[in-house]
């Protein structure tokens, strides 16, 4: 992640709370500052409050408490049409009774722009998403991917400085989704716009974002760059939600010199990096990424901790091998290894010694 200058506070959520029924809070005390030109993703399971935050920013929901500021200006009482925020909706929301050109012309027309200027802008926006030839089509005559591009062009055609995207790729197939991820990313880079992107797809979030805010239960669980989020999750939820994760339950035996000794359920001791555990006797979940686990002795990193494991299942996945093991009483411990020439394939029933570097084992709060 590159450091940005002057990135503080293009969009600011200041102690924002939201409740629909006056009994439960959907968004609990949200504080978030999004820099100008940043690509920020709100990631979380459904019901985590991320879409509510986006809707409050767009002006379709009002914050129950707290301030939302756009470019230093409080916008709580500004109606949506005066916020000048571009938005791409989950189902694209292309107006079915208008052609592609009319759809793109709509935001320009309501701003009172003349026909000549409008046409130039529409053409430029369509060319930007390589859809220039489709100006006279109706949305129903376009494929999902094409509709997606038009929705993107429409959100950008009036040059907003902030664009919100609400799961825009959810309806596309995998290949097209991955392709569009890159295109959106490139548009963001070339236009210098600020993007707030909502998704529940962690792969999408990792690929595209400058920073990711992981939402759960109405709170931001962690706000960090993708690599930090993946490699150094701050709590069990984030470790679970981002990527695949092995967890070994246990209790803290000792914490010293930034190292924690954890006693596993089977009585074995392992060393881990303490993250949000602080005292002896505390229950913990040790989290280890599947691709950081090795079983060939010559590949074990120096000072690696090793433990016995029984192979339960071997799955050939093409570029990867995926092996399920029984480790310290847990039988869903998964390791992933690249399919290289020298990689040995484990056989079910085999007992191997597996190991990992101590910093890759992170002692987190129990869920």
């Amino acid at each position: 992640m590159q450091e940005r200058e002057n990135t503080d506070g293009f969009v600011v959520f200041d102690h924002v709370q939201k409740s629909y029924d006056g009994e439960t809070l959907v968004v609990k005390d949200l504080n978030l500052s999004i820099g100008k030109g940043e690509f920020l993703t709100m990631l979380g399971p459904s019901g985590s409050g991320k879409t509510t935050c986006l809707m409050m920013l767009a002006g379709f929901e009002t914050a129950t408490h707290g301030d939302i500021r756009l470019d230093g200006r409080p916008i709580n009482s500004v109606p949506p049409h005066k916020r000048g925020i571009g938005m791409v909706f989950q189902n694209y929301a292309l107006f079915p009774h208008m052609t592609v050109g009319e759809n793109l012309g709509f935001p320009l027309e309501v701003r009172g722009m003349g026909k000549f200027d409008r046409e130039a802008k529409i053409k430029r926006a369509l060319d930007m998403v390589q859809m220039g030839a489709f100006i006279n089509r109706r949305p129903a005559q376009l494929s999902g991917g094409q509709q997606q591009r038009i929705a993107l062009a429409r959100a950008l055609v009036f040059d907003p400085s902030l664009v919100l995207m609400d799961e825009p790729l959810g309806a596309l197939d995998k290949q097209l989704r991955e392709h569009m991820q890159f295109e959106i990313k490139h548009l963001h880079d070339s236009l210098g716009i600020t993007v707030v992107y909502v998704t529940h797809d962690q792969g999408e979030a990792l690929t595209m974002s400058d920073r990711i805010a992981v939402f759960n239960d109405g709170r931001i669980q962690q706000l960090a760059a993708p690599n930090e989020l993946y490699e150094a999750p701050q709590n069990s939820f984030v470790a679970q939600f981002i990527g695949e994760n092995n967890k070994l339950p246990g209790t803290i035996e000792e914490i010293a010199d930034g190292r924690a000794t954890v006693r596993l359920q089977t009585g074995e001791f392992i060393t881990a990096t303490p993250v949000n555990v602080s005292q002896k006797g505390q229950p913990t979940l040790v989290s280890i990424r599947p691709e950081r686990v090795e079983y060939m002795p010559e590949r074990l990193p120096a000072g690696a901790h090793t433990i016995d494991a029984e192979v339960l299942e071997f799955i050939y996945m093409g570029d990867m091998f995926r092996t399920r093991l029984k480790v310290a009483g847990t039988d869903d411990f998964v390791i992933k290894n690249r399919n290289t020439m020298e990689q040995r394939r484990l056989q079910p029933g085999e007992i191997v010694k597996i190991g990992w570097a101590p910093q890759d084992a992170r002692a987190l709060d129990p869920l």
Binding site: P79, H81, A93, F106, Q130, G145, Q146, A155, L164
Partner: protein, 424 residues
């Protein structure tokens, strides 16, 4: 971009199956069984529609141009008309034929039918036929003198012109009459005297009242349908029961409750008097006139507007209006440019439904319409069941009504497109 390139394959020669037969023929054969089965499934309904819908309407249209009462009972007179051109002055042969026919039909007790048929065109002649029919046996030649002696009207050239006119079984007279026109003395088509012309006025009134009802239903129904479509399903289902409640109440009960509300001593007038809006002597006449017809029929037809509107509005996702708002449109612009156009199929369907039902509505205008609230359907009922006793006339009016509806349908198709119609 793989998703953007449309691949088109042009087939230059006819495709064949693996064993060399034309593909199209093979496809037809493969589908014919399924098609036959599908046809058998709809056959009962098709038969039902033919028996209960197509045939009665055909019969109705036939009845409106067919009346054999004169033709069948007065064969000799009919033969004389056929043999002599229209302007011929009736001679002794004509009177002989007439007298013979009167004798036979008097014996067969059909002379009243004949008189009724002539009476449709020339009022006041029915008694002439029945009276002469009673004396028919005693008539002696020369018949011309005998008949004119029995009643001088028999010498009236207009009567003879009328008899010639009704002597054919097939006639467009009833349609002419339903359009307030008749045959003049020279056989030409002339409007009936102003004091007898009622049908065109009634048609016009019917269409105006139906248009007013449709418009009021739209104005009242649109917000209701919108509310139902945005509420959570549980709440909207509950409210929908209130919309449908009128369907579950007897038409008569609903109409009489409007009488209770709107009559001179009714609830509405009482409230207005109590509030001092109107004077006790100036109570409003809101029932037994056009107002009553419009109010009661709007109430009855409202669900027919709300239901198609609701079914169109429900699937419109709120994201369209949100998108429009985020693109810079005020809520009014978003409604006008984005939401409203998408409800047009429902508006079209609802309006067409309400209008067509209103045009043919009978019971409510009959009960609460008074004189000024009578519609054309009341005339149809009058002729078919009531004192009018003229099936052909009733059928002709109904036929015109049917034609008007079909024209309306055609106009709608030209303006909006019939495929742009969503009934639910």
């Amino acid at each position: 971009m793989s998703d953007m390139t449309a691949t088109t394959t042009s087939v230059s020669e006819a495709l064949t199956t693996a064993d060399g037969r034309p593909l199209k023929a093979a496809l037809r054969r493969a589908q014919s069984l399924a098609k036959r089965r599908a046809f058998m499934l709809v056959l009962p309904l098709l038969a039902f529609i033919v028996v209960t819908f197509v045939m009665p309407i055909g019969e109705l249209l036939h009845e409106s141009i067919y009346n054999p009462d004169f033709h069948d009972n007065m064969p000799e007179t009919v033969a004389w008309f056929a043999a002599n051109p229209p302007s011929t002055v009736p001679d002794e042969a004509a009177f002989t034929a007439l007298a013979d026919d009167l004798k036979t039909s008097a014996a067969a007790r059909t002379v009243a039918q004949v008189g009724t048929r002539v009476n449709y065109v020339m009022p006041g002649t029915r008694s002439l036929f029945t009276a002469t029919g009673r004396k028919a046996k005693s008539l002696q030649p020369p018949y011309k003198d005998a008949l004119i002696a029995a009643d001088p009207k028999w010498g009236d050239p207009d009567l003879w012109a009328t008899m010639r006119q009704v002597s054919s079984s097939y006639t467009a007279d009833f349609y002419l009459a339903a359009l307030d026109h008749t045959h003049g003395p020279k056989g030409n088509i002339v409007p009936v005297p102003a004091d007898q012309a009622i049908y065109l006025m009634l048609f016009e009134r019917t269409f105006l009242v139906a248009a007013a009802i449709t418009f009021i239903c739209f104005v009242i129904g649109f917000p209701v349908a919108h509310l139902l479509s945005v509420l959570p399903l549980r709440t909207s289902n509950l409210l929908m029961i209130f919309v449908l409640l009128p369907f579950w109440t007897s038409l008569l009960v609903r109409t009489t409750s409007w009488i209770a509300l709107l009559q001179r001593e009714g609830v509405v007038n009482d409230v207005l008097v109590y509030l001092g809006v109107i004077d006790a002597h100036g109570r409003l006449q809101m029932i037994y006139n056009q107002t009553g017809t419009i109010v009661a029929m709007t109430h009855i037809l409202l669900p027919f507007m709300i239901l198609p509107l609701y079914s169109v509005m429900r699937p419109i996702p709120p994201s369209y209006v949100r998108a429009a708002r985020s693109l810079g449109a005020t809520s009014w612009t978003a409604f006008r440019r984005i939401y409203f156009p998408q409800t047009l199929p429902g508006i079209g369907a609802g309006s067409l439904l309400v209008f067509i039902l209103a045009v043919g509505y009978y019971i409510t205008p009959a009960l609460v319409g008074g004189a000024s609230g009578q519609l054309i359907s009341n005339q149809v009922a009058y002729f078919i069941t009531g004192a009018g006793n003229n099936w052909s006339m009733g059928c002709a009016i109904a036929g015109l009504l049917l034609a008007a509806i079909l024209i309306l349908y055609w106009v709608y198709d030209r303006l909006v497109g019939i495929d742009n119609l969503k009934l639910g």
